[in-house]
Symmetry: C2
Subunit: 157 residues, 2 copies
């Protein structure tokens, strides 16, 4: 298989965004098989649960920065998670417009159950890539995120 890196810029610019979208969508769909089909969580719910499971208590304004969720998505996802008893939402005493989100024990337990399965699925996909390809993807993706002006270190480190 041959790759025309950038000798034809026109091709790179038009074809590449499509490749990126296709790859991301397929990957996302594969992972959704786990947390959605099996556990009925939407992508937003899963991301939120993910974040809350490692952090303690997070305010909504801080959450918006660290996720790609806007306030509407956050409101809806958190509402559903709260209905399922996976997280709690409390009005912040400091600023009563804000809400403080926190994972419940049930939420953390569910996360601990799902997480390894999602990891395994992702690992299945990535494992067939060569070490060089993985490294290249990681480097290229970081460069792209930077170019896109994405906030770095979303999940802390």
């Amino acid at each position: 298989m041959t790759f025309r890196i950038s000798d034809d810029l026109e091709q790179l610019e038009t074809f590449f965004p499509y490749q990126l979208a296709v790859a991301a969508e397929r990957f996302s769909r594969d992972l959704m098989e786990v947390y959605n089909k099996t556990y009925g969580l939407t992508r937003e719910e899963w991301r939120l649960l993910f974040l809350l499971s490692r952090e303690g208590q997070i305010a909504s304004n801080e959450l918006a920065q660290r996720t790609t969720l806007d306030k509407v998505q956050l409101s809806r996802a958190s509402q559903r998670l709260a209905d399922k008893g996976l997280i709690t939402r409390n009005v912040s005493p400091k600023d009563r417009r804000l809400k403080l989100y926190q994972s419940t024990e049930k939420g953390r337990a569910l996360f601990a159950e799902i997480k390894p399965q999602v990891d395994a699925r992702a690992s299945d996909i990535v494992s067939s890539m060569s070490k060089e390809q993985k490294a290249a993807l990681q480097m290229g993706l970081n460069g792209l995120l930077e170019a896109l002006g994405a906030p770095e270190q979303m999940f802390g480190d």
Copy 2:
């Protein structure tokens, strides 16, 4: 900025799919500013118009293979494009279940108008990446697409 390539596999599996999704979504959104906000085309409509603008007449079954559109998306997108007079849809004489899609003059003209703007926007983003990053991204993405079992060479070459 530092990149932890893959010394922590756990990180690679969980963090990376998220990065991929974020990058693809942001990129897609940036490009949509052009063909959606300005010209009112959905992503599916744009993809279909893109494909039809360089090919002559394409049957629906062939289209499904070369795009990620399923039959429902194709049906809806083509219907809207036909309503706008950008493409034509004719029942195939060979197999009256199939439909033959073709871009109209108006469709090609609109594509010719939008395309450079989309390219320019994509170029804006990618241009701030180093040559190495671009090459790495292209290589990594191809590897990932292969790992995902994606059909290669979607737009011919």
